[in-house]
Amino acid sequence: MKSMNKMRPARMMTFAGRCAKEILRDPLNLLFGVGFPVVLLLLLSAIQANIPVPLFEIAHLAPGIAVFGLSFLTLFAATLVARDRESAFLQRLYTTPLQAADFILGYLLPVLPIALAQSAVCYLVAVALGLPVTVHILTAVLALLPAAMFYVAFGLLCGSVFNVKQVGGICGALLTNLSAWLSGVWFDLELVGGAFRKIAYALPFVHAVELERAVLAGNIAEALPHVAPVIGYAAAVTFCAVLLFLRQMKKQ
């Protein structure tokens, strides 16, 4: 029994390693996960160089792009889970000694270091574009973890419910658009105001961006009000994702 328990983390890590390889070896994932945020950063910095806009100043823009880039991780995680369900790969693994927790952690955990690597690349490019090198870059990368958890768990949730085609629409189009419009990365939400602003602040996207901006600026007091909404949403979505994954597992 003791040796079985010792084996469990190793089994989970074996499965997590496989999930990481599946994501990292898909060229489209690399293109969208790293290439797209970097291109956006370069493009908007070029615009900023010609027509200065405070919103697109590198210290303001880089944290927003780092958070926006996480929305692609939802698509990666959701596609992986949905494809595993459709191809009966999960069905095969359900007949092995892997247990529910191994699957859930195996899908969630490998995407978190990918998220950190993605944001590190984003900040490296930002440094090349003039972002001052400070220790706050490091804390900003780490401060992305709760938002990364939210996006990755949302991927597990969608992958547990939808098929590959639906996942492409919901995570690839809907979530990335919501993440763009309601995050204050591309335009100042104060300029729109009203119900739009209220809705945006009721959701986690703008909180994740403002938290990231404040941490990068080294302003902890400004960051604090945004911690609870981001962690709260991450916890709630993770909880729902676990329930829905278990439900589809039972359905198998």
Partner: protein, 242 residues
């Protein structure tokens, strides 16, 4: 002791009885084919026996272990090759095999030995470094079958193993399945008559969740006065309508 013993095993989905009071005994080392048209209950039977689906009634035992109350023990004794090709597409064949070894908790030495053994057994050496998703359907089935054997199961479930394969790939897979006969108990579902006839020791024919008959191919042909096994199958299935 039987390798598989089911007693009134039943599964219903809403108002459909997918498996209806199945009573089946399969001996260790036997290759048993479950034959039937679509919706006969073959896949549901395999899902229940491999611990994937919980039955609604009756009991079933794999080497004396109850499929619900001792599911961990059942899982450790069974291997499944699902109907769809269940491989990790972006992993190489070697990595797919290593993944299953890791899941079963093999040491590095045992993993290397197991991959070497299966590569030789299934002629996988030329494709070990190729991504599984890039292989033809026949090779993917071969890899899928090898993956099912990694846990060293005493009972192997093959759900429609040659579905969609061309004649050559099917024939090659038959050779592999024949070579496994006697070393492991195999339950094979298929709706290819010639496959059941060529490979199995005994055949069970299912329809609408019920097991209509069990016997060897010659026994079933004699029972229906049929010259060919396909005729016997049609006669048995149609006879069940009346």
């Amino acid at each position: 002791m039987y390798a598989i013993n089911t007693v009134n095993l039943t599964k219903t989905y809403k108002d459909i009885t997918a498996v209806d009071h199945l009573n089946l005994q399969i001996r260790p080392g036997e290759l048993f084919a479950l034959l039937g048209v679509n919706g006969a209950g073959k896949t549901t039977t395999i899902k229940m026996l491999s611990g994937l689906t919980r039955p609604d009634g009756g009991d079933a035992y794999i080497h004396g272990k109850h499929i619900v109350h001792e599911v961990a023990a059942v899982k450790s004794m069974t291997g499944v090759s699902p109907q769809e090709t269940a491989v990790a597409p972006n992993l190489t064949v070697r990595e797919n095999l290593a993944l299953m070894c890791g899941i079963y908790g093999f040491s590095k030495e045992k993993q290397a030995a197991k991959i070497h053994q299966l590569a030789a057994q299934f002629d996988l050496q030329p494709i070990l470094s190729k991504k599984a998703g890039k292989l033809s359907g026949g090779w993917q089935r071969r890899v899928s079958l090898a993956m099912a054997l990694i846990g060293e199961p005493s009972v192997l479930f093959l759900d429609e193993p040659t579905l969609g394969l061309d004649v050559l790939a099917r024939s090659e897979l038959w050779d592999i399945i024949r070579a496994l006969k006697g070393t492991v108990t195999i339950i094979l579902t298929t709706h290819y008559m010639e496959e059941a006839e060529a490979l199995s020791d005994r055949i069970g024919i299912m329809k609408d969740g019920r097991l209509l008959v069990v016997g060897t191919a010659p026994e079933l042909m004699a029972r229906t006065n049929a010259e060919r096994f396909e005729q016997a199958f049609i006669s048995i299935v149609k006879g069940a309508n009346t």
